[in-house]
Subunit: 223 residues, 2 copies
Amino acid sequence: MNRVQLEKKVLNENDRIAACLRQYFAEKGTVCLNLISSPGSGKTTLLERTLGSFSPHRRIAVLTGDIQTQNDALRLQRFGFPVKQITTGGTCHLTASMVESHLADWRLEAIELLFIENVGNLVCPASYDLGEAAKIVLLSVTEGEDKPLKYPSIFFKAELAVLTKTDLLPYVPFNVRAAEENLRRVHPGIDILKLSSSSGQGIEDWLGWLEKRIAHAETLCGA
Amino acid sequence: MNRVQLEKKVLNENDRIAACLRQYFAEKGTVCLNLISSPGSGKTTLLERTLGSFSPHRRIAVLTGDIQTQNDALRLQRFGFPVKQITTGGTCHLTASMVESHLADWRLEAIELLFIENVGNLVCPASYDLGEAAKIVLLSVTEGEDKPLKYPSIFFKAELAVLTKTDLLPYVPFNVRAAEENLRRVHPGIDILKLSSSSGQGIEDWLGWLEKRIAHAETLCGA
């Protein structure tokens, strides 16, 4: 078996587990969102802002992936929602099997919204389906507006692109319109939001998008 | 052959070509530096600043890697030095074989300093030796000071860490001292530089580091 065949086999096995997870999420009424970005684009900070905005009665949970450290889980646990760290130990992306094993002792019927924060990497996580309802890609305005063209796969597969750290726009040479054009060139139907987790600008739109996504899933399950 | 064995075989084959390249660079007196970072940490902008600072008589060249687009080569070619784009078409890192094939029509004896700008990815490029004299890792101050702990492999393997975009320090919650401590925890002997390619702050130190690295290699070859 050569490398390409083996990679195909690994991806096929991942897809099998992801399909099983997707069905399981649908049966339990859990909307699963897979957050993907470069390291340091603000996934954890956006989740902190998000968890801090939800009423403690909401049924939210987070799986957060990193190669090393429990830092992100420690940051997110203080909001009182269930949070678990997946430490990959070197692997550059999460797999469906890692998600499955970390869900084993959670009751999914008690979770309406499950965030998966992937390993910081704009390339490899795009190839691994985790059974999510949607992939969300974050792009910080410090990174440059040509990233959708350079890393098209994840921008093509994501349902939503979030431009983060908009509070830094006055200090960086980032052209928002060019970024939006590049996003639509790669993926004409992609949703786009702009926000700053530190100033709070745009957070209401993000929370609105999440609520719509939850309502949409409930309609699907009820249909 | 299972996946781990196959990956080992691929890496062994990469190491064989990299060793051959390393010997070739040494014979020709070419210092090769492999720049690695997340997407958008400022590799290309630092190279623009660097090429713009060198006298046109210096013998500098650049290989720049991306998954898609020729954007970076177009940005760098305007300084008059030889620049070639390596487009990986999906692969998340450069390999020694890609470097070898793109060097084929260059006379290395006419190049004293060869920059390789790797694909934007803080994980996978760390595993692929390109025959370089040194790996250099860039970390933007917008990314957070815990990155060395979360992505230890590349920070352990790099000879130099460059903290970029220091002009943004007044606007981001980045603790420089904590970043330096984290870098030294992962790699006690690592060199650390701080700079801003847009303001020019720290660029002299960077150019000084490069000159020392070239002189060091000349001593080695002459010894």
